[in-house]
């Protein structure tokens, strides 16, 4: 029923300008775009790019300062209620009443959206089957997992089949398995001619959309098919295998070359994007820094490569942070150790017998679905949670019995920006210096050093919560490393951050690792996981797999999928674990 030749235009915005506050830069700056029926339209951009503002404008929840919005033939400024009867909208955090049950949430939205009573049974049956929530109708929405909440939120938006479905960051806080299911569900909807708008900060997710609108700082940078954007860098993307020695420092050296646009660590290899060259085409010679055995192999370009190209390439600053450190001496004993860590809450075991040890200078990732126990393990290892059994050690100190010594040797950076928002950047730095026992001249010197390294001089006396996201990120890292920790704990450190800031961040992390700092990172996102040397996959409170990203991928490689992605590996290993449990 979709008409591939000329899809119906469901919504059109022209010249939209939206401001919050007179002096602030506009949240949306002259944005014009169209949304088509039967397609998934991705609204892509880092946090603060204007995605949510555009979503709310489309749902009639905000009025623009300038420009026009036409949705399903109505002028949204004049008749928002008429439009709201025809659209489905799922806000961030899904808009569910957590103290109502699944069935009560459905009942409420069914009535609000005017679903005829006679059709209820049929529609509920269909939606509950579709979302696989049939078994949980009497459970409170607040007790559902992130993935289940997301599905319920979707079901509530679908009660009166909408012609346009708006999903605002549906994948935040949701693990890859649930994300993939949601994606399948949404694809089924587009088959019926429904137009879907899906906003996300993740470019790998946006890549799967039919159309994308790329936003950055309120401006629309690109509209079109993801492949078109990726096409910009076609023939310029290569994987560099067989890098001798330390691939992170090698990457830093390679990136110094002017012909390179971008480069990231991807498992044991490096992924490089070259700038467009005059002579064009052909595989360039491997950079000399990579060593004699390095080989370049062309790979398919990604949306992210196109985005970076659009922005003019990654910042090529080396990490001054690493230069400020003295390399930590090599040592035989591990820096972070989990020795049978177990945590029980009542009769529920959140984490069972976690064992691993992380040697100096390694990036170790903890991956797993929501509620699987990775956060619990992470918290036990940095001293935020007391284990029920087993012990965690940092730099040889037991967190339980020598807590302050162990904590003095670790740095911690939380997922959300968790510094003191009302203090200035400098006051934050001074506070953390003081907490870690630096005093007098040493403290002043270190604070100045951090300000210089992270280029914070211009904002040092501004209130931290008002800083742009990139500066906040830098400030958070500066606070976490100013006492020169041996181990750094990162909790989804770059979620919602634009690709350039993320590269800068990992540039610093790579530099730290080269100096011997050990990193433990927990994440939902595969591009962060790719930076790891080793990954432990945690599921249902147990470690179900551990190894390098390459090893994990190899374990799920099969004839029909010779080159699986890390996400494939994640899902494959979890399904295998489920199968094993089912058999046992």
């Amino acid at each position: 029923m979709t008409n591939a030749a000329s899809p119906e235009v469901l919504a059109r915005v022209t010249g939209l300008v939206k401001r919050f506050g007179k002096t602030a830069p506009p949240a949306l700056d002259r944005v014009s775009a169209s949304i088509f029926g039967g397609k998934i339209t991705g609204l892509v951009g880092p946090d603060g790019a204007g995605k949510t503002t555009l979503m709310r404008l489309l749902a009639g929840l905000l009025l623009p300062e300038e420009g026009a919005i036409e949705v399903l033939g109505h002028d949204l400024k004049r008749s928002p209620t008429a439009v709201q009867a025809l659209i489905g909208y799922m806000p961030q955090r899904f808009g569910l009443y957590e103290d109502l049950t699944v069935a009560e949430n459905l009942d409420l939205y069914a009535e609000l959206r005017g679903l005829p009573r006679a059709r209820r049974a049929e529609v509920y049956a269909e939606l509950l089957h579709f979302t696989d929530l049939g078994r949980f109708t009497t459970r409170l929405a607040g007790q559902l997992s992130g993935g289940m909440k997301q599905k319920l939120g979707l079901a509530c938006a679908l009660l009166q089949t909408p012609r346009l479905l708006l999903l605002d960051e549906p994948s935040v806080g949701v693990d890859p398995v649930s994300r993939r299911e949601l994606w399948r569900m949404v694809q089924a909807l587009t088959g019926q001619g429904i137009g879907v708008v899906w906003s996300t900060a993740y470019l790998d997710e946006a890549e799967k959309c039919d159309e994308v609108h790329l936003l950055n700082e309120g401006k629309l940078l690109f509209s079109g098919k993801p492949a078109e954007l990726a096409e910009r860098v076609a023939g310029r993307v290569f994987l560099l295998d067989g890098v001798g020695g330390r691939r992170r420092s090698t990457l830093a050296q390679i990136l110094a070359a002017p012909e390179l646009l971008d480069g990231v660590v991807q498992g044991s290899a490096l992924r490089l994007v070259y700038r467009a060259s005059q002579d064009g085409g052909g595989t360039p010679t491997p950079p000399p820094a990579a060593g004699p055995s390095a080989r370049l192999r062309p790979v398919a370009p990604r949306l992210e490569d196109g985005f970076i190209d659009l922005l003019g390439g990654a910042l090529r600053t080396g990490s001054a942070l690493a230069d400020s450190l003295h390399p930590l001496p090599a040592q035989s004993h591990p820096v972070i150790e989990a020795i049978g860590l177990t945590k029980r809450f009542g009769d529920f075991t959140a984490a069972e017998d976690m064992r691993f040890s992380i040697p100096r200078g390694e990036i170790f990732g903890l991956l797993g679905p929501n509620g699987a126990g990775k956060s619990t393990t992470f918290k036990m290892l940095c001293g935020l949670l007391k284990p029920s059994a087993g012990e965690g050690r940092v730099a040889g100190f037991d967190l339980l019995h020598a807590g302050p010594q162990a904590r003095g040797r670790l740095g911690y950076m939380a997922q959300k920006f968790s510094l003191y928002g009302d203090l200035s950047a400098r006051q934050n730095l001074e506070f953390f210096a003081g907490v870690y026992g630096l005093g007098g001249g040493e403290r002043r010197a270190r604070v100045e050093e951090m300000i210089a390294i992270f280029d914070l001089a211009a904002v040092a006396d501004q209130t931290a919560k008002l800083l742009p996201l990139g500066f906040k990120q830098r400030l958070a890292l500066a606070c976490a490393v100013m006492h020169r920790p041996e181990a750094l704990f990162l909790d989804e450190p770059t979620s919602g951050v634009d690709p350039l800031t993320r590269r800068e961040f990992w540039g610093h992390i790579n530099g730290l690792v080269e100096m011997g700092v050990t990193i433990l990172v927990t994440t939902h996102f595969m591009d962060e996981a790719e930076y790891c040397d080793r990954i432990a996959l945690i599921y249902r409170g147990r470690r179900i797999a551990m190894g390098s990203p390459e090893e994990l991928k190899r374990r799920v490689a099969a004839a029909e999928r010779p080159d699986p992605t890390l996400e494939d590996a994640f899902i494959g290993l979890i399904e295998a674990s489920d199968a094993e449990r089912g058999a046992a």
Binding site: T81, A85, L96, L108, E111, L112
Partner: protein, 370 residues
Amino acid sequence: MSAGGGRRLIALMRKESAQMLRDPSTFLIALALPLVLLFLFGYGVSLDATSVRIGLAQESTAPPAASLAASFLASPFFRVTTGHDRRELEPELVGGRIKALIVIPDVFAERIARPGGIPEIQLITDGAEPNTASLVRNYVQGVLANWQRQQPGAVAPAITVETRFWFNPELKSRNFLVPGTIAIVMTLIGTLLTALVIAREWERGTMEALLATPVSAFEILAGKLIPYFLLGLASMAVATALAVWLFGVPLRGSFFALTVLTAAFLCPALGQGLLISAVAKNQFVASQIALLAGFMPAFLLSGFIFEIDSMPPAIRAISAVLPARYFIASLQSVFLAGDLWGPMLQDIGILLLLGAVFLGLAMRATRKRL
């Protein structure tokens, strides 16, 4: 309102009721807090100086002095510590363990014996507590006058004052404080609780989801107001039952009048709550404003404890627009005097007017946009 509107409204109200029953903080504010306040005010706040601790320095042992001392000892208003020298009792007064010191001086009997001699006793009160000091002085005057009337040769005074306290002849302050407490409780439910639950919807993002459906702003507000209106009435019934059966406050008026009054008061109280939440959109700020702009004035400026007449004009002007003031006045009447419809209808009229103002402002502030 269309048929769809009616269905939406019922659905919203059903949702609100289900949440009310499950949310511990609603339970806390709607049930536990009223009980705590009723107990506190019922037992803890009393202006009745029924057994004031006083000291009596009987410096004369002559018969008239002894009989006067006996009068003081027999008075139900006093709990007397006796001594023979004022100096031994003065430290007690300084320490606050007695609130007044009566001295019957050694010349007391001599003066009575002398023709035309005016007998005199001394009263030293603890001025650090002025209200008690005033009351004690009245009581002492009463005891003294009574005693003198029983003396040989006594003549009735030229002017006798006969006093009747209407509505509350036992002069129990509890009888007017407990009805006042009901007004405070209604303020908490109407203003604080409503402000909190709406701010919570903003905070959790559910308001955004509601607004994106075809619901109208009126339906959202009505869906909130009606359940809390009913909760307020239910809470009033519970509080009234406690007031009558536990605290022995008479209910001379009708329950019907009580219901009408409460309903009228809940209009401005709920309106204020809506207005606060529409402005604050954040539970923390909403609770602060509700306590500062709702609870505090209702407690202090409404005539609940402190006399409005005695306040300076500027503060009297503020209290003129306080819904609680009119509610408390009428509540005290219903409990103690009966259904005085004349004055009560006037209060109800003012309450409905204030309600219309608050609700109108709240409607203006809650547009169907973020």
